[in-house]
Symmetry: C2
DNA sequence: AACTCTGTACAGTTTCAACTGTACATAATT
DNA sequence: AATTATGTACAGTTGAAACTGTACAGAGTT
């Protein structure tokens, strides 16, 4: 009974990890990073590299690089425990802030960057477009110019949509 | 002068393709599919497999499988031209509907699916949790249970946020 | 019906990222 | 200072996905 229950808990752990990882992958995490994060997230208290390694059945090197990646993304933090030699890591608590909010920021900055770059090309093309004489080239340049406009509008929509979504930046009305 | 301008147009084409592809990759397209779509999108009028192949410098087989993928995602459509043997494809016009809107749907259905699965596990665990006697296992089960709750809430937030974002489903207030 | 053209299935190749084991640098303990 | 423990750099391996060329199936043309 105890053994059976232990398996139950372990299986459920695995199943939950698998499920939640799928969501985190949609946020752009690699499958490996996602599973590592979930492992940390489900564990009560921080973990050492060796514990992670054992929990996931991967090498300690993988854990080291994996944790480093999660740290860079601000998803995991290092924790100090007096008189303890090994490094300890734990998942940051607030899921929404860590994933959704940073995701929104990523989209916004990408969209705004694109708008700048596309508009700059649009201007560059506009300057040149007058010089064209050749019929076919004129047409091609014109098509490209129109598309650039469409693409800018598209990115503006994206930026606007994600702005609405941002909890820190409440809806405009 | 004509030659120089031709290069200019070609270079700009390449640059635009490169930029816009980055955005489409954020929507989950592979780099190859993204570039194929942009090529079709920028081209005036539909294209044949051979034209795409030439434009991208990849094999016709790649184009065939690439286009099939884009068709499945509803990003490209096949076009008929009387008395013309080759298949013709063109990019669908409305970028926002094609990408943003389908992206939102993908997130929503993923989030709702997760909510169901996680809640079902939550219930399963709740039934078992009473039977635990062992102190440590109790604690572990409890931790997992709490996390399941957090994860459900997280996905509910996601679903709610993307619902607001959906242009077909206007904001609740 | 024979022939030609077009798209795709399939098998093999290449490319790229994840992962591992070893070897080393650094820090802690004796 | 010597020894032990810990994290990471690095080089090599593995595995998966993208891509290619060939061979074929099906439609169109003669």
């Amino acid at each position: 009974m105890v053994v059976k229950d232990h398996h139950f808990l372990e299986d459920m752990h695995t199943k939950v990890t698998h499920e939640f990882s799928k969501t985190l992958e949609m946020f752009g995490l690699t499958p490996a990073d996602a599973r590592l994060f979930v492992t940390l997230y489900l564990h009560q208290g921080p973990m050492t590299l060796d514990e992670m390694s054992k929990a996931l059945g991967k090498s300690k090197t993988s854990m080291s690089t994996g944790v480093r990646g999660l740290l860079d993304q601000g998803l995991v933090e290092r924790v100090w425990k007096k008189g303890f030699r090994k490094d300890l890591y734990q998942a940051n608590e607030n899921l929404y802030r860590n994933f959704m909010s940073s995701y929104i920021k990523k989209w916004q900055s990408a969209a705004n960057g694109q708008i700048n770059r596309l508009e700059s090309m649009e201007g560059e093309l506009k300057d040149r477009i007058k010089e064209y004489v050749n019929q076919e080239e004129m047409q091609q340049a014109d098509q490209l110019y129109r598309r650039l406009g469409d693409m800018v509008r598209f990115h503006e929509w994206i930026a606007g949509a994600f702005k609405e979504l941002d909890p820190n930046e409440p809806p405009s009305d």
